[in-house]
């Protein structure tokens, strides 16, 4: 079983994934003093709540402005009039004409709450000033579906020095398991490096914090290779149109694959920072810098091929969505 053979990478991926996931529920903060403590929104913490109607009888709320009483107890109601049995305004006796007018034989009203929506995001389409020539790099992603279940698709890759260096596509089914996290599973296909290969993919993705998207996905390849990839990106608003986006990607592999220049364990990282200007929400050119680095055995393979461990690149590109 692959899991037992290559536990380290997967365990690490799972660990980071779990760390991301555990950041999901907002935690109670016992802030002393004036700063507000935010009550947890985590639903699980609501379990065991008293669903009976609590007595909100106290007045004189500390905030001064809003006195409140929720008197759900009908018996203690203190209206201005004694409760009556009959409505003061007579309720008309129903006629057959009323009955005929009342119930339409129809499946009901339709709103747009089951609409199939979609997003196609060209997150990165950029020219990179690489050490050995220029590179064209892309990262596309998108989804189609409803609010809970969505088909996610993505592609990323790189043309380096005029030839395709890396290229992959993914198609994952995503299902929301909490307000902020989706479980995803599906397939990934690599065209490069080396000969093409196909992977099964599964993991989690979501919103770790406001403006902070994260994903942790594990892959099992057809040849017994395993891999894990962690990604995160965060939007920092310099203005409402000028947005600085730090992003990071970390790749792990289960075993050495010398043909593709991939070593076991932590293999590569890619850290970037991009400054985009949203001319429209849908269209934003950007400038940036990325730092790519390889580690361990992967670095050894790179050195054997006369390549360096790291590469700093200036990038120019455009972000678009439809």
């Amino acid at each position: 079983m692959i899991f037992s053979t290559y536990p380290k990478a997967l365990a690490l991926a799972a660990l980071v994934g779990a760390a991301l996931a555990s950041a999901a529920p907002a935690r109670a903060q016992a802030n002393d003093g004036a700063s507000a403590g935010m009550p947890a929104m985590d639903h699980s913490r609501m379990e065991g709540m008293d669903h009976g109607h609590t007595d909100h009888g106290q007045h004189g709320m500390g905030h001064g402005q809003h006195g409140q009483t929720h008197d759900m107890d009908h018996g203690r109601h203190n209206g201005t009039h004694a409760p009556s049995v009959e409505s003061r305004t007579p309720i008309p006796r129903l006629t057959d004409a009323d009955r005929k007018a009342a119930f339409l034989d129809s499946a009901g009203h339709a709103v747009h709450d089951k609409m199939i929506n979609s997003l196609f995001l060209v997150d990165r389409l950029e020219w990179q000033d690489a050490r050995n020539g220029s590179a064209l790099n892309w990262d596309f992603k998108g989804w189609i579906g409803g609010d809970i279940d969505r088909l996610w698709f993505s592609s990323e890759g790189e043309r380096l020095g005029g030839s395709l260096h890396e290229a992959e596509i993914q198609a994952l089914w995503g299902h929301s398991i909490s307000p902020w996290w989706d479980l995803v599973g599906g397939v990934r296909h690599d065209f490069k490096p080396g000969s093409s290969q196909t992977w099964a993919a599964f993991g989690v993705q979501g919103l770790a914090l406001y403006n902070f998207e994260a994903s942790a996905i594990a892959f099992v390849g057809e040849n017994g290779q395993t891999a894990a990839r962690l990604k995160g990106e965060y939007d920092i608003l310099i203005t409402n149109r000028l947005i600085l986006q730090p992003a990071a990607e970390v790749n792990f592999f289960g075993k050495n694959d010398e043909g593709r220049g991939i070593g076991r364990g932590l293999s590569s990282t890619e850290v970037g920072i991009r400054l985009r200007y949203e001319i429209r929400r849908e269209f934003a050119p950007y400038l940036g810098v990325t730092w790519n680095r390889v580690y361990g055995k992967t670095a050894d393979y790179a050195r054997d091929h006369g390549e360096s461990r790291g590469d700093t690149r200036f990038v120019v590109g455009v972000r678009m969505w439809f």
């Binding site: 109601h77 007018a101 406001y210």
Partner: protein, 574 residues
Amino acid sequence: MQIKTSRRTFVTALAAGGVLGGLGLWRAPVWASTDPGAPHVLAGAEFDLVIGETPVNFTGNARTAMTVNGGIPGPLLRWKEGDTVTLRVRNKLRDATSIHWHGILLPANMDGVPGLSFHGIAPDGMYVYTFKVRQSGTYWYHSHSGFQEQSGVYGPLIIDPEDPEPFTYDRDYVVMLSDWTDEDPMRIMRKLKKQSDYYNYNKRTVGDFIRDVSEKGWRATIADRKMWAEMRMNPTDLADVSGHTYTYLLNGHAPDDGWTALFRPGERIRLRFINGSAMTYFDVRIPGLKMTVVAADGQNVAPVAVDEFRIAVAETYDVIVEPSGQDAYTIFAQSMDRTGFARGTLAVREGLQAGVPAPDPRPVLSMEDMGMDHGSAHGVDHGHLAGMEHGQAASGGTGDMQSHPASEENNPLVDMQTTTPVPKLDDPGIGLRNNGRRVLTYADLRSAFEDPDGREPGRTIELHLTGHMEKFAWSFDGIKFSDAKPVVLKYGERVRIVLVNDTMMTHPIHLHGMWSDLEDEHGNFLVRKHTVDMPPGSRRSYRVTADALGRWAYHCHLLYHMEAGMFREIRVEE
């Protein structure tokens, strides 16, 4: 839309309106833009309305609107209490349409909600609405089909009372506020589904962070940013659709165009404010004038003098003003998120204008606004809760947490739950507190009549307003309309509906066919309404007498929230 109130003048206007309607003058594009202030009144008991496409230009770009009788807004319909009215509505659109008479008591098959009341009006089809008018006051009408209301299918509706009103006035104007977009509303919906903060260009930036640090210190600023980040929410999220795409209209006039109503100094002017927007709350004031609110949602209230009021989507307020001392006054209606305003003028003659105030500073939501307790973290963790009981009540909290329906638990469509909601009836609202003006609150509203039912409700139905900002999914109790069962009421019963807002947005909740009798904190009858505003962090209750048999719509009147699923069928059965 000036209508003198003497009976004789009214009858004349009525005849003129009828003639205009009969001649088909409704074909003229956007009535209001050519003849400022001119009324387009249809009065009487028989009406012919045509829903069709009309070229408009509110922004400098030619667009095609959907209109009633060619106008935005549609014609002012003037009915008389006690009459039986007949309205023949023809559809010249390519899609099915409908007209819903907002706030009107009528048989279910006259209510105009496709799939609940009737089958809609097919292209080239007609539906004849006919019913007895059992109420009076200021109302409105609009399409209940898809996004047609956003595209222009709405208009004002006045019902003159059988009995004299408890207030007097010399002139009578409708002030209908609305939001226009050059975009296809369906495209707006799709954009919101892709990026829910698409229209918010007022999010907090690095600059705001630096300013907050210098004003409040590192510790407080970091704590504040951390809370919002962990909630995955944005405190500047006050309107899902903003002035970035909307042009705010007053009686169909864009702000730089402007609508003018005339007065003579010393006259008492009745202004009938109607919020016919798809998504926009307005904060309304007339600098230099006190406004005496005399009716809310068409129902007379004990007069209350204010400087400003917030009008939720679909609400109406009638106010009386007595302009004197100035030749012109600005009717200023800024959107709640301060991204724009609608504007009109009260003047002694055409062509005059008064100064237009700058919009107020943009409000930023606080945890307290959202019904999140502050001052301590109690009520979060059950370990704490158990040890706390009611002992801490004196320190500022109730010590009791709001309970939530089981359907909200582990529900990916529920991104937030309020912990300590309060009625907030005396709260002017976000962005209106301590602004130096006397702002109307729900606590100021007292129906001019006693509780028309008088019975204590036999049971309580608690519903929570729920949603997910990022997914732009909206619901009651975490269940979207398509997945929900109808709420069933028994004919004749009196029920109490308790609403709890578990979102960070403000929702105007509208029940068709029956009144919503708002209660105060002690369960006393306050005011009769058709649309009840629910700010974030609020818990409000009202009574409903189920005196209308049939299938009724019950929904958030923010159009895109309704279409995203914040909707229920209420079924009144025998």
